[in-house]
Assembly symmetry: C2
Homo-oligomer: 245 residues x 2
DNA sequence: TAGGCAATTTCTGCATGCAATATGACAAGA
DNA sequence: TCTTGTCATATTGCATGCAGAAATTGCCTA
């Protein structure tokens, strides 16, 4: 036995070891859903998916149970699992709910965030500005996601942070609605400037209101995009082709 | 997956026949955890539990995955599942989080509740008064749970209602902290009177503030009870006896 | 030709078996 | 006596097999 263990690098990286197969499957499935690889509403044959992932049905079924608990798939007894359809009428309740969380975040962060937290948020805010300048919508959306997640964590309330990320993930599926709206991107960044200002000043009510407003405006933009673009005709389902191009 | 109310007394649960075995297991496990049958932090041997329920390990494992996703059990890879320990430091974040939801409920219900909703809430409120008169703490807690759940549903926001019930279930595990505090019961009912008044008048801000305050006061009572009673010495574990009496 | 019924086929749900890992005890050496 | 290495046991993780339900197809009848 080697005294100096090889320590295959993973030991260091994986603080939270997803050593088990079904855990990894949950991650992969979540990625699939969040990236929109699987068309919404489509059935998920267990055998096909298990073969695709190279595992047996048992861990896949366990992973599907978790995804169902998180609301990304719907399990119908004896009738298989379907990808939870992206329902445009679901956006409004999600945004409304998230608004309440945003407000609480705004109320808590000023009194609980450390200087390191704010510094980290400043850094993300700079990255956000870079993405805006480059007109890199994908990057902007991603950094924006990370910023708000970080902000939620700065409340030092793990329940809040976890639930916030959960609702963020659900809304993430509708991000395509605003991906191409440049003016919304600019407006969003302006709101972020105000948020950062309130954050630096650590003014509770101001930050809460700005976050709520930011959430509300983003939701309105999504709703408007959904209303104008007739994107939800359930007939055509060839959205994945846009990726292969 | 919808989080169907478990709300003790399994008779209510069976409105929606969970045809699949693991679904029933989830319900039974949730009931076990909510009733505190299983001591927190204890390991859950799969074989023992599967024999107790008279099923094989497969559906039990699937049910445990769901419970883990909901935060009631913790799965350690290759080391089995443990009942999520009831951590008194978790109460404050839960209450704080629920406060944000209460406020949103208060803001939404006045403009969205139907007359039938309010009538139903009036009925529950009467039952609550009866329970108070009888000094039936268990009934009071249960009806109180149902009342607030119904109120959340009256917002017509399914996301809010579902998340509210989830956080309610988590806090439910700490209800023993206030089960014996008669004065808190009386105060709670007084607050409910105010809530009902605001509800009848359909005054948004008033209802929101009253709900937030009600939540805050309940949380404070729980925190105080946790601080005074040295209930969390991990040595003695004979809490289930309080039910059989 | 259209509609209904039945058989087949496909897929899900659950039980069981085997391999892998963790846990505890025990013995040998310092 | 304490540490360390090894082994035995128990438990988890995953694959496979079988029974049952649902979906589909084909056939028969009106």
């Amino acid at each position: 036995m080697p005294v100096f263990a090889v320590l295959p690098t993973e030991e260091f990286v994986l603080d939270e070891a997803p050593a088990t197969l079904h855990d990894r499957l949950v991650s992969r499935l979540r990625a699939l859903f969040l990236e929109g690889e699987l068309p919404e509403g489509s059935r998920i044959p267990e055998i096909a998916l298990s073969e695709r992932f190279g595992v047996s049905r048992t861990p896949l079924r366990e992973a599907l149970k978790v995804m169902a608990a998180e609301g990304f798939v719907i399990l119908r007894p004896n009738r298989g699992a379907v990808v939870a359809p992206v329902d445009p009428t679901e956006v409004a309740p999600l945004v409304e709910f998230k608004g309440a969380l945003e407000r609480l975040i705004g109320l808590l962060v000023p009194s609980r965030a450390s200087e390191a937290d704010i510094a980290e948020l400043e850094r993300l805010h700079l990255d956000l500005g870079d993405a805006l300048e480059r007109q890199d919508h994908a990057a902007y959306t991603r950094i924006n996601y990370a910023f708000h997640q970080r902000l939620a964590q700065a409340t030092r309330n793990p329940v809040l942070a976890q639930n916030y990320e959960a609702v963020q993930q659900k809304i993430w599926r509708y991000r395509f609605t605003i991906n191409e709206l440049s003016d919304r991107l600019t407006a969003s960044y302006a709101e972020h400037e105000g948020i950062m200002a309130a954050l630096r000043a650590r003014t509770r009510l101001d930050l809460a209101e700005r976050l709520e407003e930011h959430n509300r405006l983003t939701g309105e933009a999504m709703a408007q995009a959904l209303a104008t673009t007739g994107r939800f005709s359930p007939s055509h389902k060839s959205r994945k082709r846009s990726r292969s191009a």
